[in-house]
């Protein structure tokens, strides 16, 4: 039975469940093109360095920044499409009804996790956008090029945790309604 759940080719288990999941699914698919972008600019850097002896100052940091955003976004994407790895040995062998209750439990745990991380990453983002003395300024990488990527990455981490909070909330509501409907 667990073979079905782990089956990478079984697309049915990976459909988005509501409008928010659908948006994230679409957005994630569209954003995935930027992985190609990181390949292209990294290749450009190699060519510039070896063929023209003119290494760039922006490729390294841009590729890391773009990759980082995609990594964070990937968590929300995997949640929307139910792709996060789990141990299904017991989960798969219980009754559907029990599985529903387990799902409700997972969503509540997810809500606690994301809520704590919203709190933490809010302060992290705040200090990246405001100096300790309260003046607005963007945290920069401190390199020769010095882009404000750290500030943007921290903001996006905060945003993704907020989105994931609502994903868990909507899943919770959907499953609670499902349990009530069955009674």
């Amino acid at each position: 039975m667990s073979a079905e759940k782990n089956n990478p080719l079984n697309e049915l288990d990976h459909q988005p469940r509501n409008w928010l999941d659908k948006i994230i699914f679409k957005l994630g698919d569209a954003a995935s093109i930027f992985y190609l972008f990181t390949v292209v600019i990294t290749f450009y850097e190699i060519v510039m360095r070896y063929a023209f002896n003119a290494p760039t100052i922006w490729v390294h940091e841009t590729a890391t920044f773009v990759g980082g955003i995609l990594f964070v976004l990937g968590g929300s994407y995997a949640l929307a499409t139910n792709r996060h790895v789990r141990i299904v040995l017991l989960y798969d062998s219980v009754l559907d009804r029990t599985q529903n209750f387990l799902n409700v439990f997972h969503h509540i745990m997810g809500l606690i996790f994301t809520a704590s991380l919203i709190y933490a990453s809010y302060y992290m983002a705040e200090s990246a956008f405001y100096a300790p003395w309260g003046e607005p300024r963007l945290e920069t990488s401190g390199s020769a090029w010095d882009p404000a990527f750290p500030a943007y990455t921290k903001l996006i981490i905060l945003m993704v945790f907020v989105i994931m909070f609502f994903q868990f909330l909507f899943h919770l509501i959907q499953d609670l309604v499902g349990i009530r409907g069955r009674k």
Binding site: N10, I46, T64, Q99
Partner: protein, 440 residues
Amino acid sequence: MFELSALGIGWVSLMMLTLMIALLITGMQLAFVTGLVAVVFAVGWFGPDAVGVVSSRVYSFVGSYVFLAVPMFVMMAALLDRSGIAVDLFDAMKKVGRKIHGGVGVQTLLVAVILASMSGVIGGEIVLLGILALPQMLRLGYDKKLAIGITAAGGALGTMLPPSIVLIIYGLTANVSIGDLFKASFLPAFMLAMFYVIYVLVYSKLYPDKAPIPSDEELAADDAKNVNYVRALFFPLLTVVFVLGSIYGGIASVTEASALGVVGIVISAAIRKELTWMVLKESAQATMRTCGMIIWIGIGATALVGVYNLMGGIDFVEQLILSLSGGNAMLTVLIMMLILFILGMFLDWVGVALLTMPIFVPIIIGLGMDPIWFGVVFCLNMQVSFLSPPFGPAAFYLKSVAPKDISLGLIFKSLIPFIIMQVIALSLVVAFPQLALWWK
């Protein structure tokens, strides 16, 4: 707030482990289990402000340049899956030893090795071989168990031969050169592949009817097929040479080498007239899918280790392991391998690496052993856990493409001889570290 620190690190470690296992058993996602446990214990031990440790861990984890090699190698594999390169490779390899018993099995293993040096992920390769090679062997009348074992064990080699994502993640966690890890893992991985080849040949010699030779008509049909060897082999192999050459030669960083690999496969596909926007888009999407999962397991695990370290847990485990082994180097390694094996039964390998290596590697270095060698040992350990029940991912991937009558139980049974060979290879590398470190 409840003061967990008053209980002492020993009891709290036990509580953490219990909570983690309990949550995992309910089927909760691994990434969120580790993340949540990190949050709960950060708050319980240090107070609410300590959640900041978790968020800053998330930030530093996703901002790592080396990590960018992971999606690029995943994309390389995704592009391979969507091009006909693997099919051509298999057709070209049909010329090798086709008139001896077990020939097709050996061909499959050779294809597996070449594919493994183009991609570093488990899954894709097993699925590919499961679609290409398994039906071929079954059609010829190969013993089911032999055919299944070759396919799954061969496909799992992808994570052992460079460029392997397991080694990249180990290198990141242990803070050692990934290029060195790739150099070190090559010989042990090759040795393991040769064990498989020898096994197939000896088995076929002993039981010729379990590994029949293709009929004359079939051989004639293969000859009639006009394989363009330049197209089939030259560019994919050139890509392998480029990727590994630039890493071994120190010309490019691992991330840059992985970008070269993607470009190489894209060019190979373009020459084969298989490159479409659709292929690129689908490969990018597949990358997004796989990486979202891998990276969030990493995020959760690194958060948990970060919090545990601040609590003084790493020192605690270090003392615990050293007191168990009495400071004996070999015994320490054996205890660690036992822990890896047990964890490998429950957790994904990314989680295993990120949870244990920050604790194990300093102990290994402290005892005067080489962390590069330990990386190869870890990689071999994970090979075993890929094939072992109850969660051996190799078996599940193969099951997803195998004919209906092949059950999971049969797959695991077929893998037993291959697991034994893995354990032999692992013991050899543990007993003779030179196997991994000869180039130093």
